[in-house]
Amino acid sequence: MCLGIPGQIVEITDESRLMAMADVSGVRREVSIAPVLGAGMTPGDLIGEYALIHVGFAMAIIDEQEAAETLKALEGLGEAQETLEAMAEGAKALEERA
């Protein structure tokens, strides 16, 4: 459950009510940024950030660093697999030649 999608905060639409425009692949919707406005931050600080949008609220700022790390691990697995497969191909070819 709990459909959520990353969207970029592109504009603050109402400072006092903490409303901002989020952009999801060119589709815009006004959302509340209350949950992601950390202590000492001003709304403008959020512009450009990606947030996880759920039912009209920015529920979490997406951590670029963490995302990159996860991806790196995944890519590693993918490449390892490719290598393995290439090796298997090679072994098979060798066998066939034999």
Binding site: I5, S25, G26, E30, V55
Partner: protein
């Protein structure tokens, strides 16, 4: 009273119940607004048409009807009038008929702006001209406020199917290639945003278009085209399910072959919708034998409405009636018909 162009001048800026009363006010409304689109036969309540094409032995008459009830009636890329002409032209065209004549019946809510009606009628005129059809007869009714939503239009189309032409869903055979003529879901996503209740906005424009010329081009290029279906309500998924069921074949499409705009994907992600079920108003899916697929693509791409033509999948022998999609992962999912409307989800 008439103005310099000879058009009736209407005092009212909005339609009142008097305009539906069958008297002079109604005639004034018709003469002032609808004469541009209706081409009535004098004062007769029926059109009388001589259709040489129908007199050809073996030729058949095609007839189809649809009511159009879109909200809002004007939206990026079109209006209800454009839908009403294109929708019926397309239902004729995808069946292999050459569209000839349309009727147009308007149900108008009291209070509707007459300027809006004029704009809608002008669009219909344009689209009819583009499609090469004549709107030969019409009707207007006025209903009280709250008994309709501005304007509903019902168009009925008559066309001729040349001898020997036989396009139908039941013709599709295993191995046939499925082709769509462009990106999917633009209309549905555009209307969702235009309706305003989800407070979404985007630059999406409806794909609404007449597909008569495209179908003519394909039929000329591919003697064995099997079937075509416009992907309107219920989207591509419904069209494919109907075809699979009628032909007793399976249809398999490739997720990575589906042409989708980023904004359509975005809309679907936000609201939890599936683009396969979004409505289109200028998109069709076509089945041709594999050896005619290239010719079909070329023919489609030769007309503006087919520029984005692309192969999305093919028919398979079994399981009969089932549509599946190979996902990006090589997994398979069944693409069933919708139950009801797609509703936005939170979960």
């Amino acid at each position: 009273m008439k103005d310099v162009t000879g058009q009736k001048v209407l005092r009212d800026s909005r339609v009142t119940l008097a305009h539906g009363g069958g008297g002079k006010a109604m005639r004034d409304l018709i003469e002032s607004v609808f004469t541009d689109v209706f081409e009535p036969d004098g004062m007769e309540d029926q059109a009388r048409l001589t259709a040489e094409a129908l007199a050809v032995p073996g030729a058949r008459l095609a007839m189809t009807t649809d009511s159009f009830v879109v909200t809002p009636v004007e939206f990026p890329g079109g209006d209800i009038g454009k839908l009403a002409v294109c929708g019926t032209v397309n239902d004729l065209a995808v069946g292999g008929a050459t569209p000839l004549y349309l009727s147009a019946a308007f149900i108008i809510e009291e209070g509707t702006e007459i300027a809006l009606l004029r704009r809608i009628v002008a669009t219909m005129r344009d689209e009819a001209d583009k499609a090469g059809v004549r709107i030969v007869t019409g009707d207007t009714k006025v209903v009280g406020r709250g008994s309709a939503d501005q304007v509903f239009i019902t168009t009925t189309g008559v066309g001729v199917i040349a001898p020997g032409v036989e396009l139908k869903a039941g013709n599709v055979r295993p191995g046939d290639v499925a082709i769509v003529n462009g990106v999917l879901g633009d209309h549905g996503a555009c209307i969702l945003a235009a309706r305003g209740d989800m407070a979404l906005s985007s630059d999406l424009v409806s794909d609404c278009a007449g597909l008569g010329h495209l179908m003519a081009a394909v039929q000329a290029a591919c003697p064995n085209v099997r079937a075509a279906r416009d992907c309107t309500r219920g989207g591509l998924a419904s069209a494919l399910n109907e075809i699979a069921e009628a032909a007793g074949v399976a249809v398999e499409i490739e997720e990575d072959a589906l042409p989708l705009r980023a904004e359509v994907k975005g809309t679907c992600e936000i609201l939890g919708l599936d683009p396969l079920y979004l409505a289109n108003e200028g998109r069709l899916v076509l089945f041709v034998p594999e050896d005619e697929a290239e010719a079909a693509l070329a023919a489609m791409r030769s007309v503006p409405e087919g520029e984005g033509a692309t192969v999305i999948g093919r028919a398979k022998p079994a399981p009969a009636g089932q549509v599946t999609m190979r996902t990006l992962f090589g997994g398979a999912r069944i693409v069933d018909m919708l139950v009801g409307e797609q509703l936005p989800r939170i979960c």
